[in-house]
């Protein structure tokens, strides 16, 4: 089996948003949407802080589809548009998506976005990877773990572009992969473990 995933070193994450824009570019993501976001945890403003001056703390959390082993989105999808593929990625068959947005309500990570209108792109052409399907109005979309790149044996664009090398991509089912070793050695954890979704995306400090 193969379970492709990303592990994110939060100590090295500087909140620079490069991964968020790398994703937007690679995947031709329309205006007003992001498949990948970097949030300042617990804050209503970017680069905010927790605590009271001068005892402050801040952490950045890059968040996208967690490519769960037990995806809440897949369970509620009435058409089978959302599926778990043979490489352990959660994917969407856009032709089957009827726009019911059950998946969006079910995803505890708020990882999905929806094309409410005809997607608007700035610049107004299809940028990004030419293999990436162009999504029409009325479908949901999200991080595909750069399906087109990872199918070609390349790492996801967010991993490729991360300036501080905070991201590691690999196969969780290969115990010798760098990602598997990091998860074991650095006591990596998953988000909202209690939801039982078993994310494949891991985080560590």
């Amino acid at each position: 089996m193969t379970r492709l995933a990303i592990a994110i070193n939060k100590t090295r994450c500087i909140g620079c948003q490069t991964c968020a824009f790398a994703c937007k570019m690679q995947n031709n993501v329309p205006e007003g949407m992001r498949w990948n976001r970097v949030i300042t945890e617990g804050c209503d403003v970017e680069d905010g802080a927790l605590g009271t001056y001068p005892n402050l703390s801040r952490s950045y959390l890059p968040i996208a589809c967690q490519h769960c082993e037990n995806p809440a989105c897949q369970r509620v999808c009435p058409t089978g548009a959302t599926y778990k593929d043979d490489k352990g990625r959660v994917e969407i068959d856009y032709d089957k998506c009827i726009g019911c947005r059950m998946c969006m309500a079910a995803c505890p990570y708020n990882a999905r976005v929806f094309n409410w209108n005809e997607p608007v792109r700035k610049p107004d052409f299809n940028f990004g990877d030419k293999e990436v399907p162009v999504r029409p109005k009325g479908v949901a979309e999200k991080c595909t773990l750069c399906k087109e790149r990872t199918d070609r044996g390349e790492e996801p664009m967010c991993v490729r572009c991360c300036p501080t090398k905070a991201r590691t991509y690999g196969d969780l089912d290969d115990p010798n992969s760098e990602i598997s070793k990091l998860i074991a050695e650095r006591h990596a954890y998953v988000l909202l473990e209690e939801q039982g979704t078993k994310p494949q995306v891991h985080y560590f400090e």
């Binding site: 100590t11 490069t18 970017e46 001056y53 402050l56 940028f127 162009v134």
Partner: protein, 808 residues
């Protein structure tokens, strides 16, 4: 590519331009915004799976002090993907959001599309499209008329760092005034120059030695947002367990990653450093061996005159840093022979302390004078002045002096932008030198990340103009032109110089309005464009009339931009714009005809000058895609910078600034900032410090136009919850920030990262994105007289500002 399936096959650039021309004609008179809109400039896009693709490479920004090589996938003649280059050495395959954001930024609505002529009032932003011929003719006529009427010195031409690519010919051909002293980013270097050498703010050891340090002090530096790619070295150090301390009034990203954050009061960093020096001297934590062998502190000084005791016959190996004067070799008191001997005589054992009478004059050592100087600054005083507890200052001094090697990485923003930055730089030099944290592995001082020796440098030829051409100066810096009488009547800038390279924008822009003529060449509709009579559209780095463009030596590589897209709209490259202008004087043949000619020239014969350049030829570069590493480039490159043979008169760290005797600043006398200090009476009216600094979404104003970034970021001021609550301000409100110099209105973020009493705003954003005005309307134009005598002259104190804020 199949023409039938491409929705854009029929939409050539020429067609588009025709369409735009018709639209502009129909409107007759177009506002700037509509003039430059790129909305729907292409037909709606559809599937793109069969688009024809090619790959271009270029060196991206050098203004963030990185210079990443970018790999651009161009599909249907549009830049569709930008990613790290696989041609660069592996550890240099980097990018950040600013590189990626270019996919939108290249095509942004703020692009200037055609030459424009002003039709409204200056500042109003009303233009009509004109032809290149008319625009160039108008500029040439204005320059010629001024030259005839007032002389060559009446023409001001400056390349700002925003749009300029790499050469600077036309201004020199016109023998124009380029605005003299820059006034930017050299506040602390004014204080370090005489001690370690003029360019000692550029470290002589690699940033990758951060991991070899025990302690790193980030002094007002936030590399996590400024030089994003360089922060990898800091994160490596963090993971290696290096103790990181950030000194900054604001809880920056860098502060959040540090072991310790010291929120100094704005503009008081020098007090913190002086407190550390006092603790080190009191506790005996200094490095006596380093002081004796590597610094000027044993040199003898005449007590009465304050002058160094120097030989009249034997000269120092180097001239003075400031003034380039030849000076005699200094004497020390040799303990071995019990007499004064030259500092560099064989076997001399310099005394560090004492007083001696020689030829009837009383001499002592610099070290004795330093101790007397620092005795006037107690740690309690430092604590009170900078707002950091005494125990914390002493603990930091202990850590810095006794748990080395240690690095001080100072930014050239933050504390650099107060009028007392020279005092900070000089104090830092003393701290570094008395602890011996210089010239050995894991130690050092300066602005780390790009300006130092992080990567090996290439050797290239520089194109020169025929003899007789060059810039002139009327003696008044650009930033002082609104205040000092000057001969300038006509101005031409490449990019926005006037709103970026001066404070107190109302003064500067009023002066610009008073000029006979002002033309600007820019890619985007930047803040200064609205004040121009003629606007010329430059193209971005990604565009060129020919296959190649800039050749750059950057980031340990030689990079030749190639395989680019053609200039969008009616824009042209800098080179072709310069040639068009030069042709008005018949001087175009003094310039390269093409970028290819320039690139070939730059590499021609360099192998003979520098064997490391072997094989890096124009043809080899092109064949390999346009990026070749220098032989030493790699993750283990570590130049061995030392504390020996420094470019100071004696070759040692010279801490006693004899040249500032008239100012009493032989050692750095603490001075309050000009405006931003605790006891300033105007705080009754304007109680808040106003700081500006870097954002990840900008390099200065550049990337304002990027619509992707606009989704995340815009002009807003950050305020602490305490200050916000006192004024009924909430995130999302529009606020008015003001003082006697001016005001602006924009959004606001209530942010706990702010020290109460301090506002912060990222510089900067094109003015039209503000609700009213822009941040430089409130900033300080004061010049510190003392700094006219310093290497880099007075600096613009952008952060030395007090304001009030209210809900708009």
């Amino acid at each position: 590519m199949s023409g039938a399936t491409s929705p854009h096959a029929g939409m050539t650039r020429r067609n588009f331009l025709k369409t735009a021309g018709v639209a502009a004609g129909a409107l007759g008179l177009a506002g700037a915004a509509s003039m430059t809109t790129a909305d729907n400039w292409l037909a709606p896009a559809e599937a793109h799976a069969d688009g024809e693709e090619r790959v271009a490479h270029l060196c991206h920004q050098f203004h963030c002090l990185t210079g990443c090589n970018l790999k651009c996938t161009i599909r249907d003649e549009r830049v569709s993907i930008i990613e790290p280059s696989d041609l660069a050495e592996e550890s240099h395959q980097t990018i950040c959001l600013r590189g990626i954001g270019e996919v939108d930024h290249i095509y942004a609505a703020d692009r200037i599309q055609t030459p424009l002529k002003r039709v409204g009032e200056r500042g109003e932003g009303k233009f009509e499209a004109i032809s290149w011929d008319e625009a160039i003719q108008t500029i040439a006529d204005a320059i010629k008329s001024a030259q005839e009427q007032y002389g060559e010195g009446s023409v001001f031409i400056r390349k700002s760092t925003e749009a300029s690519i790499d050469f600077d010919f036309f201004g020199q051909l016109m023998k124009a005034d380029s605005g003299g002293n820059w006034g930017l980013d050299r506040g602390q270097p004014n204080g370090t120059a005489a001690a370690f050498g003029a360019f000692s703010y550029c470290p002589n050891r690699s940033i990758h030695e951060f991991s070899d340090a025990s302690t790193i002090i980030e002094l007002g530096h936030n590399p996590l947002e400024s030089g994003i790619v360089w922060s990898r070295a800091l994160m490596d150090a963090k993971e290696a367990g290096v103790y990181i301390v950030t000194v900054d009034p604001r809880f920056t990203g860098t502060a959040s990653k540090s072991n310790e954050w010291l929120p100094v009061l704005p503009g008081t960093d020098a007090a913190l450093i002086q407190g550390m020096i006092r603790a080190i001297v009191d506790e005996g934590w200094y490095d006596e061996e380093f002081i004796k062998s590597k610094t000027s502190l044993p040199y003898l000084v005449d007590r009465e005159t304050g002058k160094t005791y120097r030989s009249e016959d034997v000269m120092c190996p180097n001239p003075t840093v400031v003034g380039m004067l030849t000076v005699g070799a200094p004497y020390v008191w040799d303990e071995a022979e019990g007499k004064a001997r030259l500092y560099n005589e064989e076997g001399v054992q310099p005394a560090l302390e004492g007083t001696w009478t020689i030829n009837g004059k009383e001499y002592t050592t610099e070290w004795t004078l330093l101790k007397e100087w620092i005795s006037e600054y107690s740690v309690d005083w430092a604590a009170e002045t900078c707002g950091i507890a005494k125990e914390t200052i002493i603990a930091l001094a202990d850590r810095y002096a006794n748990n080395g090697p240690a690095i001080i990485d100072f930014g050239l923003g933050g504390p650099d932008k107060y009028t007392n930055a020279d005092v900070l730089g000089h104090s830092t030099s003393i701290l570094v030198a008395i602890t011996g944290n210089y010239g050995r592995k894991g130690s050092g001082m300066g602005f780390f990340g790009g300006v130092g020796v992080d990567d090996p440098a290439a050797t290239v030829n520089y194109w020169t103009l025929p003899e007789g051409y060059g810039y002139t100066s009327c003696g008044t810096a650009m930033y002082d032109m609104p205040y000092n009488e000057n001969p300038i009547h006509v101005a031409l800038t490449f990019g926005d110089a006037f709103t970026l390279e001066a404070a107190a924008a109302n003064d500067m822009l009023n002066w610009v309005k008073s000029l006979d003529f002002f033309a600007i060449i820019d890619i985007y509709h930047s803040s200064a464009v609205d004040y121009a009579d003629i606007v010329l559209p430059a193209c971005s780095k990604f565009e060129s009339e020919e296959n190649v463009k800039s050749l750059r030596a950057s980031y340990g590589h030689v990079m030749l931009a190639n395989n680019l897209i053609k200039p969008l709209f009616e824009s042209k490259t800098d080179l072709q714009i310069e040639r068009l202008l030069a042709a008005q004087w018949g001087l175009e043949d003094t310039l390269p005809e093409t970028y290819e000619e320039l690139a070939r020239f730059m590499l021609d014969g360099v192998e003979e000058l520098d064997p490391r350049m072997a094989g890096i030829t124009y043809d080899a570069l092109l064949q390999q895609g346009g990026c070749m590493a220098l032989p030493e480039t790699g993750p283990d490159y570590r130049p061995d910078g030392t504390a020996d043979n420094l470019p100071t008169p004696s070759g040692k760290v010279e801490l006693y600034y004899e040249y500032l005797t008239d100012w009493g600043h032989q050692f750095p006398v603490y001075t309050d900032a000009n405006e931003a200090y605790a006891s300033n009476p105007i705080k009754e009216q304007y109680p808040l410090y106003f700081m500006q600094g870097k954002s990840r979404y900008r390099i200065h104003a550049y990337y304002t136009a990027c619509e992707w970034f606009q989704e995340n970021f815009g002009p807003y001021v950050n305020i602490s919850p305490e200050d916000a609550e006192a004024r009924g301000i909430q995130t999302g409100d529009t606020v008015r920030v003001f003082n006697d110099r001016g005001e602006f209105k924009c959004g606001v973020h209530v942010n706990r990262s702010l020290q109460p009493g301090v506002l912060f705003m990222a510089e900067t954003t094109y003015t039209r994105y503000y609700d009213e005005g822009f941040l430089q309307n409130v900033t300080n134009s004061h010049r510190e007289d003392r700094q006219y005598d310093m290497y880099f002259g007075p600096q613009i104190p952008y952060n030395d500002v007090l304001v009030q804020i209210e809900k708009a």
